[in-house]
């Protein structure tokens, strides 16, 4: 069954790596819903957060192909239940409408919108949350003359991750310990063995 998966890729900071990762998806005609690159808690290690809608089988294979890239340290995939995630959206609305329509002000407060800029002609609000929330606000603001809408890529924290410091130390050892197996599935015997 296809569902939303968030792929987290820890990498070296290298020019061209974005392309190397992106073509793994495009080669298989898979659309990337959202892609974010960011630093991590570890100096020199970068983090890609990629959202796609696919079956688990496909996502697992994609992660293996991603991990195969020389400059990729590790790739994880998670369902939405396994992560804490946020996206940030901005809305540009005519200022006079907000000033006159009390309802709009109440709605914005309801959605936890922050005001970024107020000008005579327009006001920019910012909302951080899940996609359904930011999408809903678009629908709500449309009748009030929404001028512009933009949403950022997803950023996500894996709930049961212990960070990357310890893992990195292991990677830096020429002979990594046995616990550091290339792929998690080896530890999930029941999923690998179909006997």
């Amino acid at each position: 069954m296809k569902q939303e998966y968030t792929i987290t890729v820890y990498t070296e900071n290298q020019i061209g790596l974005l392309n190397r990762i992106a073509i793994i998806f495009s080669r298989r005609k898979i659309n990337i819903e959202s892609l974010n690159t960011s630093p991590t808690e570890v100096d020199s290690v970068h983090r890609f957060t990629i959202v796609i809608e696919e079956t688990e089988d496909v996502v697992r294979k994609l992660c293996r192909q991603i991990e195969k890239q020389v400059e990729v340290l590790k790739a994880y995939y998670n369902t939405n239940e396994e992560i804490v995630w946020q996206e940030m959206a901005m809305y540009k609305v005519p200022t006079d409408i907000i000033a006159t329509e009390v309802k709009v002000e109440r709605l914005l407060r309801e959605y936890g919108a922050n005001t970024v800029v107020i000008r005579k002609d327009y006001t920019v609000f910012q909302v951080t949350g899940h996609r359904e929330e930011t999408d809903k606000l678009v629908k709500i603001l449309e009748p009030y003359g929404l001028i512009e809408f933009v949403r950022s890529a997803r950023v996500a924290i894996i709930k049961n991750s212990k960070g990357f410091h310890e893992k990195l130390k292991e990677f830096e050892n020429a002979q990594p310990p046995e616990e550091l197996i290339e792929n998690e599935f080896l530890n999930q015997q029941e999923e690998v063995f179909s006997m």
Partner: protein, 583 residues
Amino acid sequence: MMETLALTKEKKTVKQTTEISGSQAVMEALVAEGVDTVFGYPGGAIMPIYDALYDYHQQLKHILVRHEQGGIHAAQGYARSSGKVGVAFATSGPGATNLVTGLADAIIDSTPLVCITGQVFAHLLGTDAFQEVDVVNITTPVTKWNYQVTDANEIPHVLAKAFYIAGTGRPGPVLIDITKNAQLQKFDYEGYKKCDHIRSYRPKPIVRKEYVEEAAKLINEAEKPFVLFGQGVILGKAEKEFKTFIEKAGIPSASTLLGLSALPTEHPLYVGMLGMHGNYGPNVLTNECDVLIAVGMRFDDRVTGRLDKYAKQAKVIHLDIDPAEIDKNVKTTVPVWGDCKETLPMLTELVQQKCYPAWLERFNEFKKEEEKVCIHKELHPTTEELTMGEVINVLNELTNGDAIIVTDVGQHQMVACRYSKFNQSKSNITSGGAGTMGFALPAAIGAKFGALSRTVVAVIGDGGFQMTCQELGTIMQTEVDVKILILNNHFLGMVRQWQQLFHDKRYSFVDIESPDFVQLAKAYGIDGQSISKREEIKTALQTMLQHKGSYLLEVNVGKEDNVFPMVPQGRGVAEIVLSKEQI
């Protein structure tokens, strides 16, 4: 005394550096990596490297090819016959783009290569400069790793990384693009240090003993086990370990196209080749075995046929060094990730000494049927026209299976691979995954340079030969001894076969005309002859093999012969057919 002590102390603290150019650093790196042969073609943006090469010609043999594609295929042939990393040079722009086919071929067939391309000056990058092409981005999907150097200081460690990545783990091609300013730039050179670790790259998975144990258990309980082996055995230099394993476990073994020669074809447990034009038994019995043991192979679609009809009854053990291959096409019961040089001996130790006479007899039954319907008339035809098979059969007789057979792509490739005898490893060089026509002639040149003591025979079709026949010039100039055997059916035979079988014999643009190949060879100073009669085959092949230096033999064969057996596209391996009447 005190003075000298102080002096040596001081010496120790000062780092020994010499000032050299980026191009010289490239040469130093190649020498340090043990490279003895480079295939290349000069041009504007790589001139400083060629200038440095001028001073290194004693240590580095440079083979001037006639086209960069020929250069990279030659480097592939060299890598495959020698087991070392092949090296190719090309200039920027079109020089570099001409490498792309070879890179695609090398990545799908896991051939270790380091390609060095020149690039325009760094300050001109992105300005649409003369012969500027974004080669790093163009080659990203077809390289294991690539990198652009714009500063000479990077050259030693980038090349060390390149050789390490190309040659370790699952091998593959690496491309290093060096801007002209970096080639010219002088810098403080601290010597060359080989790379042996990159933190984000783990060439070998750690072998998990419990999986080896699980695999051994399955094998020991099996009644009809079947081994499929691929090029991984050759790349892992594990031919001996593999042989010991199958001999102890007594398991019938079949090869993929690229696995050929990892096990001598005369070995009693060798049951033939897999795949679309492989042998009858190995294909059919894939769907009859109870445990399928895949060693260093990747379940290519030409091997599996229709996946949902592939070995559904069997438990699958997959030994591979590349974790991404596990479960990619065929669901694995027990994955044994690791270098088969390590995993095979572990497995050998745990499996029981066994043999399966009745099971092996099943393969023999199929072999007899295949002999009767296909093989006999191919190897001992009674028709007037010659067959490709009978030529290969005589070639076997004369070389005794000791030659390196380099094949191109098409019908002659399938026939040569089906019928060639191989006694030793690294004797079969062909373009497998990519199916690159034009591969054989340049690859044969490289193969000879990689194994100078061996006889190299390039078996090529009339179509493929014309794709890279400019490399006859390379043969002429280097006087390399390559035997060229053109099996000419005056058609693009494989496509014609498909048109006959699946497109109502609508022969659409497959009747290719050829020049006089013998005259063409003569123009390059290469001796040769063309034959069309059965009684001439043996003498002509003898003449070719005994000729001092290169020789071209054209054999005119039947125009509309087909390669059988065949697993028609979209069918399962057990639905393999032996003749066109069965399609």
